[in-house]
């Protein structure tokens, strides 16, 4: 048997699954995005690129895009920074190490809806009482009920739960930092800061890349936190792109239009991912 056929046998199952569950639905999605299908009717019309043109003039979609990008920046920066700091703190040797590590990992195993309910309660009852007691105007009402502050309530909840996984990945990455290099740096008189930036951080670049990709993905496709906390409100203040696609496709029966929006989101994520990969691989190559 020629080796080529053997390879073919091995990758066929994966290829078939990939075609059925990814390529074909994507193709169908592109097709539906050029129709006016409402999602349940037996009939619909092909409208070409109409949906795509309309979306570009749709202020609601543009607002959702702006919201999503701002949200993503906040979530990515906070998640990565806090996860890295926590990982560094938890990396040392101290009493009850595993216990404390599991405490910090705990939010990751909670269901999203549970977290949403808990934080709804916190923002409704707990934060305002603290805000009133301390006389802080902005915190004395439910921050989710205010168009200016609602986004921070969602970001905080997302970060609270979303820090755990990158933290664990950072912890794993920290084991790859050679101890002898750190010791050598100490002997040469490097300060803790210098040791971190010159020795530890370069070794963490690969895991930083993984974490950044995950965090950006989480930010750009945010949906569940919004449904659980604000349902896009107050008004339209917290509609993300994922939420908008869901609303228009499933609730407002503009399935074709919503699919076209999701193709735009796909394009946006594609561009961001390409830039990200470029930047990070250059850094990696340069620093290692």
């Amino acid at each position: 048997m020629r080796p080529g056929l053997g390879y073919f046998l091995f990758f066929t199952p994966a290829l078939v699954l990939f075609l059925i569950f990814f390529v074909i639905p994507l193709g169908m999605g592109v097709y539906y995005s050029m129709t006016n299908w409402n999602g349940y009717s037996l009939t619909y019309q092909f409208v070409g690129l109409d949906n795509y043109v309309k979306i570009l003039q749709d202020s609601r979609f543009m607002k959702a895009t702006g919201f999503t990008l701002y949200y993503t920046v906040l979530v990515v920066v906070l998640r990565l920074a806090i996860a890295l700091v926590l990982a560094l703190l938890l990396n040392g040797n101290f009493a009850f190490r595993s216990l404390i590590r599991s405490v910090y990992f705990f939010p990751a195993v909670l269901s999203m809806i549970t977290v949403g309910l808990i934080f709804n309660e916190i923002y409704y009852a707990v934060v305002p009482s603290i805000g009133k007691a301390l006389g802080i105007e902005a915190l004395s009402k439910n921050i989710l009920g205010n168009a200016q502050t609602a986004i921070y309530g969602i970001v905080f909840t997302n970060v609270w739960q979303g820090v755990a996984v990158p933290m664990v990945i950072f912890l794993a990455g920290l084991t790859s930092v050679p101890k002898d290099l750190l010791e050598a740096a100490t002997i040469d008189g490097a300060s803790p800061m210098q040791r971190f930036f010159s020795v530890t951080l370069p070794f963490l670049i690969p895991v930083l890349m993984v974490n950044a990709v995950l965090a950006i993905k989480g930010g750009l496709t945010v949906f569940d936190y919004i449904v659980a906390l604000t349902d896009g409100g107050p008004g339209r203040a917290t509609e993300s792109m994922g939420y908008l696609i869901y609303r228009q496709g499933m609730q407002e029966n503009k399935f074709g239009y919503a699919t076209a929006e999701s193709i735009y989101v796909f394009g946006l994520i594609l561009i961001i991912s390409l830039i990200q990969i470029r930047l990070l691989s250059r850094k990696e190559a340069g620093q290692l």
């Binding site: 009717s41 949906f223 609303r247 796909f266 991912s273």
Partner: protein, 432 residues
Amino acid sequence: MKTVKRAMFMMFVLSLALLAACGGNQGTSQSGGGSTTTPKTKSDSQNGGAAQVKIEYFQMKNEVVDVVNRLIEKFESEHPGIDVEQNNVPNPENVWSIRLSTNDAPDVFTHYPHNAVFRELVREGRVVDLTQDPLLANINPAIVDLSQIDGKNYLVPIALATMGVYYNVDLFHELHLDIPQTYDELIQTAEKLKAAGYTPFYFHDKDWNGIRQEVVFKMGMELDNISEFLDDVMNGNKHITEHPQIRALAERILQLREYGQQDSLGTGYEDALREFANGKGAMWFTGIWAIPSIQDANPNLNFSMFPFPALNAEDTKLQVTVDTAIGLPAGGKNEEAARTFVEFMAAPENVQVYVDAGKYPAAVQGVQNNVPEMAKLSELIDAGKVYPTIMSVWPPGVAEEVGKATQEMFAVGDIDSYLQNLDTIFYNRYNQ
């Protein structure tokens, strides 16, 4: 290797983007709506499956799963040849539409005659026409009329929903307050409560859906010829601001917030329910569906309901929606057995069991109201002082936009831009 990894991540991201569009309806929490999955229910065993007809009853109300199971048991003992399986899923309206569009329609289902998607599927001929059908024999004629779509009946109405003002009876007694008969009396009552140091109203303005319910209810009651007017607006012949009463109504809706709790925009439905049940607010406007939940939250609270008063006492009436109504799919395989089941579910003695458990007003004649909290509302229904929701002809999405626009108005307090926003929502909508 790295490129492969990156490619995999990207695939993951892409598939999530797709999922956001395709699968989003499955596991999410819908505020106010049903959220628990109930497994299909029970029972063949009795006849060993010989010559059994099996039908599926796809019903959309999570809170009546138990009583429906009891009724099914009774039905099966009376009709041993028919096996009924109850199916209650989260997000049932979407599931129903999707099942219809994939030719997998349930044999019997509940739906809402005012629902926009339902109405469109009716027009596509996907539901059995029940106009003048013997199945409607027991139904209150006013409700049969109210649940028509283009002059025809496609559902058998069983139970109704309406809205009203919940009030704390003990508090009203303590302050010697009477039930307000007009809007001005309502404001005076609120003033007295406020002066006595109580919070007159609780609002759940964090949920746009609750606001939407309130606005639709009040528009229907207080604005003359509102349906025709909105039709004109949606056809592009008029603007919202041309209605002579609409600004005053918006001002009244906003005015009522002055008597609300400090942070109504931060209060969700569940929060308001709990606060009212714990005696914090004197009044709360929402649907009759909150009665069982309030009783659960605080069995000791002495509360009742009164109709939301119009400007003049004689204009006070109730928006009634058909809340449980049973229909049959066109071309259903087991239509005969399904009809037998609908006939059973619409029989007065079974409707009595159903509405007593669910605490609904009945759409069926010969059924009593055994829920004392609803007594004043039932009086209006019996007197025929009811009107249908004005929302049933709105295209999908409009209702939500109205709710969110009103929410914005509460935040900003600007009536002018609110009316402008409403105009943007409605103007020429039919032609877009």
